[in-house]
Amino acid sequence: MVSVSTLHAEPVPDTVLMVDDNATNLQLLYQTLDGRGYKLLVAKSGEQALNIAARAQPALVLLDIMMPGMDGYEVCERLKRDPVTEKIAVIFLSALDDTSDKVHGFHLGAVDYIAKPFQVEEVIARVDTHLKIHRLEQDLERRNRQLEILNDRILQAMGEGIFGLDRKGQAIFVNHAAAAMTGWSESDLTGSDLLDEKADGARMPMAECVTPSSLTDGRIHFVDTASFIHRDGSRFPVEYSCAPIHEDERITGVVVVFRDISERIRTEAELKRSHEALQKSHQELLDAQMKLIQAAKLESVGRLAAGVAHEVKNPLAVIQLGLEYLSAEGEGDETEVLVIADMLNAVQRADTVIKGLLDFSREKELDLAVDNINRVIDVSLQLVKHELTQHNIRLFRELDDSLPDLDLDANKVQQVFINLFMNAIQAMGKDGDLIVRTTIQDLPPGDSDLPSCEFDEAQQLICVDVEDTGSGISDEGMAQIFDPFFTTKPVGQGTGLGLSVSRNIIKLHGGEIGLDNRPEGGVVARILLPVNKGAKDGKETNTAG
């Protein structure tokens, strides 16, 4: 903090130097001013006067003009010329009472003129007045100096860059921070047009800024993002305020206070990035949670299934066997036969539901054997052949004969295909095309929402597409297609467990299954199965043997 206490200096007695070659006059002056609180010095010649003045720094010199050797004019001139003594107030004393002499004296820097022979009161009055004026001037100057220092210190101490611009955009003042931030020196900038280019083409810091509107509307403006130009030509982001300078009700310029916001922008970007990362991991957490919930759901369905199966199957067995007994025993009429057939059918349906539940809960272990997926597909197709014919569905079998063998649980995989084929047939109803295609892929095909799980990069994949030309699946349906008990089929026609069971089976094989609507209508179900090296080697051995 800058102290301003020095503005109030201890009062020291004013020193008055009296210069006259005439000892009587000096005596008279001395008597006149003595005892009035001044420190009085005398000089009898111009040379002596200059010596004393330089040494004693009087506030006031009473200077006789007419002196032998160096006259009063010359003494005054010299006093005014020397920075050490220039501030000393000079009052001429002379018998010359010519206006031109007075004017000459004033021109040389004198403040007043006392004519000889002088009146005591006049001398006292004028000396007092001029000493007072001198004191006030000194005070004022000191205060000004202090204020300037203070201002300058504040200006320089500020972290913000400050430009004072006049109406034309020329810098009136520039603080240290402003110079440091822009790469120029304070003196380079001061006096330059900061809104423009220098003569040598160097672009000044605010060359890309519009003329501050504070100059015209007299208001303070804030600009939160702008570019200032560094001396090296690079731009840096700033925010700045622009405030008008009012002088005598005129706007004479503006003060621009700016701050380099590169760091802030960096921080903000970083913050944004980490916020995004946070959001991402939050989403991942949510996803993981959803999967956990899903898994828990499946798990509980599994446990429920085993319990239900056990509790329901015994009564079902009783009904089944009882109905069989009744149907063989009685020679009952046609209606009775029909009723018993319906009841047996109902038992079968109930059993199918429970079977699905059990399948679902028990797909945990595979009975693996080296097999070819095409063979499993053909067996499965054989099993739905009747359905295809009945629904007038054309089969397009596009199987790649070069597929390597896999470790498969053929029965379970067959269950998956039958399930997919039956779904496709039911989706098409009557008339349609069923396309079954196998291909070998070096990378997961990334062309749709179909499964693209994380397989080893080097791993080959067998891709099985089962396509139908049916009605497709709604977005809502697509979202929950693999949920246990989700079904689009009419009540009684599906358990809603088929696809979730299928997915379990495929996942147990290290593969993925997904469904998507085809652009041309209908649905494509895609199964990706990783080719494990063991199976491939096995095939080669077989071929060789």
Partner: protein, 124 residues
Amino acid sequence: MEKKRILLVDDEASLTRMMRLNLERTGKYEVREENMGSRAVETARQFRPDLIFLDVMMPDTSGDEVAAQLQEDEELKNIKFVFLTAIVTKGETEPGGGEIAGRTFLAKPVKTEELLACIERFVG
């Protein structure tokens, strides 16, 4: 020809009754029911069946334990038995009984024809 003797062990009495009625109607079998797992071995000793249909999950003694006791019994160890269970699905068994870990299973709800096929297979 002497009738084959079939023992049905299941804690559900209505189930063994239905099985018995269906088997007896063929006229080819003599059937006995036992609804207590803990009494199964004793009943077998008295009845000397050719084949036992044995429920796996019973409240007092499980079918598994019954089977173990039969196999340790010098007199009874040659009696054939087939498990009846609700936990195995039809896909895993076959009409004549599916093999799991060296044992034969029939999945509930069992049909008469499956019982008959199974008897045919084991005791002709």
